[in-house]
């Protein structure tokens, strides 16, 4: 079913690259560096990130702040946010021949919503209107490494971010740890299912970036995505 819906769109001119991984796995740093590389190489590139649709954000924020969300509405409101970015930006940009870089994609929802107890098949169906990325990088950092990065950099964890709605523990940090561990195991299960390109998140930043660029260049003919600058026609001014 998923492939049937997606196959309607295999003919778009652009390329889609997604990055996935735990909070603190280093994926945002890496996708930022990839974006800079592409921009500085004069390629047509667009970056989008999870949970950032302007029209849906307000509702999501309220739902989170007032703790109104259940596993089902959590799944649906994030799917709505994704759909808005997909229909307004990702799809038109892909059709226009852009390279779209997506910090988190539907796999984030597959992992989180499954941990929250939603039926995995139902969640996959929600996102079946979206194309499968040309490459999905999975930044594989061991739980302890990822936790250390997050817990040092950002001491205050939010309620849903820490998975407090699931009642694993009344201690925020402990809850976050258990939640992340479960998400990690969901990600691991998806590696073969969706053919993620795994990057060892404990390698030096430069080495990870090198691997990432090599994988991109092997799969995508980058010069084809150079932005064409239209030169204005020479106008001969009347003397």
């Amino acid at each position: 079913m998923i492939s049937r819906i997606s196959s309607q769109e295999t003919s778009y001119a652009g390329r889609l690259i997604a990055v996935e991984g735990l909070d603190g796995s280093g994926k945002s740093t890496q996708v930022y560096l990839l974006k800079r590389f592409m921009e500085l190489s004069g390629l047509k590139v667009f970056f989008t990130e999870w949970n950032s649709s302007l029209i849906v954000k307000k509702a999501t924020k309220k739902g989170k702040k007032r703790q109104l969300l259940t596993p089902t509405t959590f799944a649906l409101i994030h799917a709505t946010d994704f759909a808005d970015r997909y229909e307004r930006q990702i799809r038109p940009l892909l059709r226009a021949g852009y390279i779209v870089l997506s910090d988190r994609y539907s796999y984030t929802a597959f992992a989180r919503d499954a941990v929250r107890g939603c039926d995995p098949e139902w969640v996959r169906q929600l996102y079946s209107f979206a194309v499968k990325p040309d490459i999905t990088f999975f930044f594989d950092a061991p739980l302890e490494v990822a936790l250390k990065r997050i817990l040092v950099g950002r001491p205050k964890l939010k309620f849903f971010e820490a998975g407090m709605d699931l009642g694993f523990s009344s201690d925020t940090v402990e809850s976050f740890r258990i939640f992340q561990e479960k998400i990690y195991s969901e990600y691991r299960k998806m590696i073969p299912e969706f053919g993620f390109f795994t990057v060892d998140g404990t390698l030096p930043i430069e080495r990870q970036q090198e691997l990432m660029r090599a994988a991109v260049e092997a799969k995508i003919d980058l010069p084809c995505f150079a932005s064409r600058v239209l030169r204005p026609k020479k106008i001969s001014l009347p003397r």
Binding site: I5, I55, V56, A59, K62, L68, T72, I77, D84, W122
Partner: protein
């Protein structure tokens, strides 16, 4: 015994939902609100507690959804998922708790209108069905069948204009509001007809003034609920 269309809601056991879920479906018609009020009066008169639900009424996104429809163009998948969020929030926080307390839930439209609208906007039928597999199967679905011409009349009488979304102006059937309304409501009706046997709609002729329609609805609803010992006497004196 209640059940879900599909796997349902995580963490919600349909057992013990002793109230009744009664759905009134139909096109975009202002008369339905009046009719539902009358059904509510009739039920309360007979000692039954009721709760009303409807589209775009959730605490979570009801207001936000109404806001983004003012002048924003939402893509079809976004619109669909936004409404599904609104529905799910009401299902979990209003419908299920009310049913658990033995209350009669009167739904001014349910997943069928939402599915019809999505399908008319090009959504895949199976996709929409999967989306709403979280829904509870109602105890009864009454489909108020109203001619499209009558719908126009009812809308104009209420508002002196036709609503942009109720006319399906977003899908470009016609640039003319009136033509678009007619075409759009016909497409929606076709979807309802398709769903009729699959979902067991009970059809009620809605091309009548609100009062006789409400009277028929009340009689049908009364068959579904346990009467109080004195209800029959009271009912005979009821104003309807």
């Amino acid at each position: 015994m209640k059940r879900f269309y599909g796997k349902g809601l995580p963490g919600v056991d349909p057992e013990g939902l002793s109230g009744k879920l009664i759905v009134i479906e139909g096109g975009d018609d202002f008369n339905r609100a009046t009719q539902l009020e009358m059904v509510k009066d009739c039920l309360e008169h007979n000692g039954h507690a009721t709760v009303n639900v409807g589209l775009k009424r959730s605490t979570l996104v009801g207001r936000e959804l109404a806001e983004v429809q003012q002048g924003n163009t939402l893509g079809p998948a976004t619109l669909s998922l936004f409404y599904a969020t609104d529905f799910a929030d009401q299902l979990e926080n209003r419908i299920v708790p009310a049913l658990r307390s033995g209350i009669i839930v009167l739904a001014d439209r349910y997943i069928y209108t939402l599915m019809a609208r999505d399908i008319v906007r090009g959504a895949d039928r199976d996709w929409v069905k999967s989306l709403y597999s979280i829904a509870l199967v109602p105890d009864a679905v009454f489909y108020l069948q109203v001619n499209v011409r009558q719908l126009v009349e009812n809308n104009l009488q209420q508002n002196s204009t036709l609503d942009y979304w109720d006319s399906g102006m977003d899908i470009g059937l016609s640039r003319e509001l009136f033509d678009s309304f007619i075409k759009y409501q016909r497409l929606i009706q076709n979807e309802f007809h398709r769903m009729q046997s699959e979902y067991g709609f009970e059809v009620i002729n809605g091309n009548r003034p609100p009062r006789p329609v409400a009277r028929e609805l009340c009689a049908r609803v009364a068959d579904l609920v346990e009467p109080l010992p004195t209800a029959s006497i009271v009912a005979s004196n009821a104003s309807l």
